[in-house]
């Protein structure tokens, strides 16, 4: 049966919707399995089942012409793993995923735990601190630039670059346009790093340069692949780590449960990412006509898949707006995406989250948090700032 395609004038990119998106997500889910977003001239898929199905049908839902909403950024993304289809995708993913597998990351576990333990020690000595700058940013910023092999110079630009990159993944609105100079700066900087051999020997970045020298990958693709490492590895994790503190501060009984049983930590991390998904969602281009439950989308359509909405879909989750670290199916979330483009750094994110929650569980009896203020970014959902206090 073919039904008239549902359409909506909901604008997901107003400041209000970015700060409190869940009502809009629910309205979009209730309108249908795919909804035409008139203002942005794209389809949006907001229900879990359809997002999951699209992510596992990469032949129909192509990433090769970009996963952002604007043509200019989609053009710039070419060559990245994110914006690719097989067989090229499998080739470049194989070039970057080696050091990010859980197996390869094991050798960093002790260092991560040490950084996390020291951080918690230090924060216990402070009366109040900021959950973002003093807590969530510390571990990612102390390990990622080193692993990438980046010299000291320019590291202070990583967070502004990541923020800029995620702002431009949505439509080319004023918020995104304002970031274009920062993006240009980032790509120039990365290109210089790839050229000059300044990345530390044996680092993720230097290994890519070596692979190019050995003819395993075209040299001009190296900046895009370094971008694959740099851009998604900070803001996303920092968002989830801040949310962890916020949610455990607001749900002390669940924090007590984690302290009593550390084996709850992996599922708690899944639930945190489900509940406050850092990445809003990416788009795909339809290579052929496709119908979602009678809603027909023509070949050539751009389709925005809202991971953050799928993770709150009442068709999939029991009491989706309740934070529950014991939720039996929390690991089904699509907060890392899913399928062949599933987040290549999810093992790194899990290791960072595990290290910090383990460190907190060892020492911290009570987490007190104040009111968060939310960041305004086209793509990343994250707390901008929040006072917090830890009690031993």
């Amino acid at each position: 049966m073919v039904t008239a395609a549902p359409a909506s004038d909901i604008d997901l990119y107003t400041e209000e919707s970015i700060r409190s998106p869940y009502r809009d997500y629910r309205a979009l889910r209730d309108l249908g399995p795919a909804v035409w977003l008139a203002q942005y001239q794209v389809w949006v898929v907001a229900r879990y089942r359809e997002v999951y199905a699209a992510l596992h049908d990469h032949e129909t839902f192509s990433s090769g012409s970009g996963v952002a909403l604007s043509d200019a950024i989609n053009e710039r993304m070419r060559g990245t793993t994110l914006a690719s289809d097989p067989p090229y995708h499998d080739h470049v993913r194989g070039l970057i995923n080696g050091p990010l597998t859980p197996k390869a990351l094991r050798k960093h576990q002790a260092l991560f735990q040490e950084v996390a333990d020291d951080l918690v020690d230090k924060l216990l000595g402070q009366s109040t601190f900021d959950a973002v700058t003093d807590f969530a940013q510390v571990l990612p910023l102390s390990v990622v630039p080193d692993l990438l092999g980046w010299p000291a110079e320019g590291r202070e630009r990583f967070l502004p670059w990541a923020s800029a990159a995620f702002n431009t993944v949505g439509p080319m609105n004023e918020r995104a346009a304002a970031e274009v100079p920062a993006m240009r700066e980032m790509w120039q900087y990365i290109a210089e790093m790839a050229e000059s051999g300044r990345l530390r020997d044996g680092s993720w970045g230097a290994d890519l340069v070596t692979a190019a020298a050995a003819g395993k990958v075209e040299k001009q693709l190296i900046p895009s692949l370094i971008g694959d490492y740099l851009v998604p590895s900070l803001d996303t994790t920092i968002s989830a780590l801040t949310s962890a503190l916020w949610l455990f501060g607001r749900h002390p009984e669940q924090w007590h449960a984690v302290r009593a049983d550390n084996s709850l930590i992996p599922n708690a991390l899944n639930e945190i990412i489900r509940y406050e998904s850092p990445a809003r969602g990416f788009s795909r281009l339809l290579t052929r006509d496709h119908a979602f439950d009678g809603v027909e989308l023509p070949a050539g359509s751009r389709v925005l898949m809202l991971y953050a909405s799928a993770n709150r879909d009442e068709r999939k989750w029991a009491t989706p707006d309740v934070f529950d670290i014991r939720r039996p199916n929390a690991k089904d979330h699509v907060g890392f995406g899913h399928g062949i483009h599933g987040c290549v750094g999810q093992g790194l994110a899990r290791l960072e989250g595990n290290s910090l929650l383990t460190a907190l569980a060892k020492r911290v009896r009570h987490i007190e948090v104040g009111e968060p203020t939310w960041r305004v970014n086209n793509h990343i959902r994250a707390i901008a700032s929040m006072p917090a206090t830890l009690t031993a």
């Binding site: 859980p102 197996k103 899913h338």
Partner: protein
């Protein structure tokens, strides 16, 4: 029904092993070990195999008649 593992896509995230411990496990080195012979799904493991395919975060597993 068979279950096919794309070895090149598998990154060892281990979600299949959590979901279907009778079919998959990670060894001490973090390598995926398939706990059945060949690619035929063992009797009584139809549901477990479907769950393992569904949860693989990187699309490395699929079922095929």
């Amino acid at each position: 029904m068979r279950i096919l593992l794309d070895v090149k896509r598998c990154e060892g995230h281990g979600v299949c092993a959590e979901t279907a411990p009778e079919l998959f496990r990670l060894d001490d080195d973090g390598e995926l070990v398939v706990l059945f012979d060949g690619d035929e799904i063992p009797a009584g493991q139809e549901d477990a195999s479907a769950s393992a395919v569904r949860v693989c975060p990187v699309g490395a597993l699929r079922r095929q008649p």
